[in-house]
């Protein structure tokens, strides 16, 4: 820590902390991310049928993030363009997705009998003005 502080501009690019408890700085995050995304794409391609929406969804997200990681060198730029937190958080998310794939493979939620339809019920009643609204982004 002190070394970084006193060497000043020499190592100023190095991040000291993520500011998040339990989440350590990964100096080579870009390479780690590219590796994880490649692995995700490969596992998804091997294990999940092509017509499954889950596979399309994962491929869409992962391909975009992989493209950004390959185009940008700087961690700051990657974080800005993906917009889902710091590179260390992106690593966490990629690991999560990798852990999820076996669960999806096991229970196959996309397999439904013919003509199966999820019932959607919409309540059109307006929200009273005095109730504070939670708006998801």
């Amino acid at each position: 820590m002190f070394l970084r502080r006193f060497t000043g501009p020499l190592l100023s690019a190095a991040k000291e902390s993520t500011g998040i408890v339990g989440l350590d700085v990964v100096p080579n995050a870009r390479e780690v991310l590219i590796g994880l995304y490649d692995q995700t794409l490969k596992v998804v391609k091997d294990q999940i049928p092509e017509q499954a929406e889950y596979r399309r969804s994962v491929e869409r997200i992962t391909n975009y993030r992989l493209k950004v990681c390959q185009e940008e060198e700087e961690h700051d730029r990657i974080e800005q363009r993906i917009g889902c937190g710091q590179v260390e958080e992106l690593i966490e998310q990629a690991n999560d997705e990798l852990e999820l794939i076996p669960v999806m493979v096991e229970s196959k939620p996309w397999e439904v009998p013919e003509g199966y339809k999820v019932e959607i019920i919409e309540d059109t009643e307006p929200i009273p003005a005095h109730i504070p609204q939670h708006l998801s982004t």
């Binding site: 992962t62 889902c84 937190g85 990629a94 999820l100 939620p109």
Partner: protein, 198 residues
């Protein structure tokens, strides 16, 4: 609603088997699922990149004695990253176990104990499913609709034994005879006697 439509559609197309019904009311999404899919569905919501519901805010249960599967178990999730909340509901009866999510969300441990204690909803695979709110040796599940308001036992201090004793509740009363005739009736008859004509 408009902001949620695309999200709802993608959820349904990703996991149609897990979702039996989906309700949207006042900008809140409620997903109904079968008890055997709860664990997988919560895993999906926690780990998928575009959901990231990392916080399990609460698990609670509701008792509807008229339904075949009388207990409705409700999971409230929060995604800090996307500033989004979602509610997952499932229906079970007294003997169907639900797979515990306490290894997925550590906060679920106590919530599941609470649901077990107060409603008797059984969670399988839970590491330590004990009572959490009621007293040692308590019998029954006090938030069930068929649990009597007074409970089955009462606790009092016994002066002769110099200790607190717990005994079966006693609700017997002395026999009382209720005389249902109105005290005003006789007088009323007398009051309205027509005066004799002179």
């Amino acid at each position: 609603m408009a902001q949620n439509t695309a999200y709802i559609q993608s959820l349904i197309s990703i996991a149609p088997r897990w979702i039996t019904q989906l309700r949207v009311s006042k900008n809140e999404i409620v997903i109904y699922t079968k008890p055997e899919f709860v664990y997988a569905l919560l895993t999906f919501f926690k780990k998928h990149t575009s959901t990231q519901y990392k916080v399990l805010v609460d698990i609670c249960a509701v008792d509807y004695p008229s339904k075949e599967h009388r207990f409705e178990v409700v999971y409230n999730l929060l995604s800090v990253l996307y500033n989004s909340r979602i509610r997952i509901k499932t229906n079970v009866d007294e003997i169907t176990p639900i797979r515990s999510v306490s290894d997925l969300y550590p906060s679920a441990g106590w919530y599941e104990r609470e649901a077990w204690d107060l409603f008797g909803v059984y969670f399988s695979n839970h590491s330590d499913l004990r009572r959490i709110l009621t007293d040692y040796g308590f019998e029954g599940h006090p938030l069930r609709k068929d649990f009597p308001l007074s409970g089955y036992t009462e606790v009092r201090y016994d002066d002769s034994e110099k200790r607190v004793v717990s005994e079966k509740i006693e609700l017997s009363q002395e026999f009382r005879f209720f005389d249902c005739t109105s005290p005003w009736e006789d007088q009323a008859n007398q009051l309205f006697i027509k005066p004799k004509k002179v």
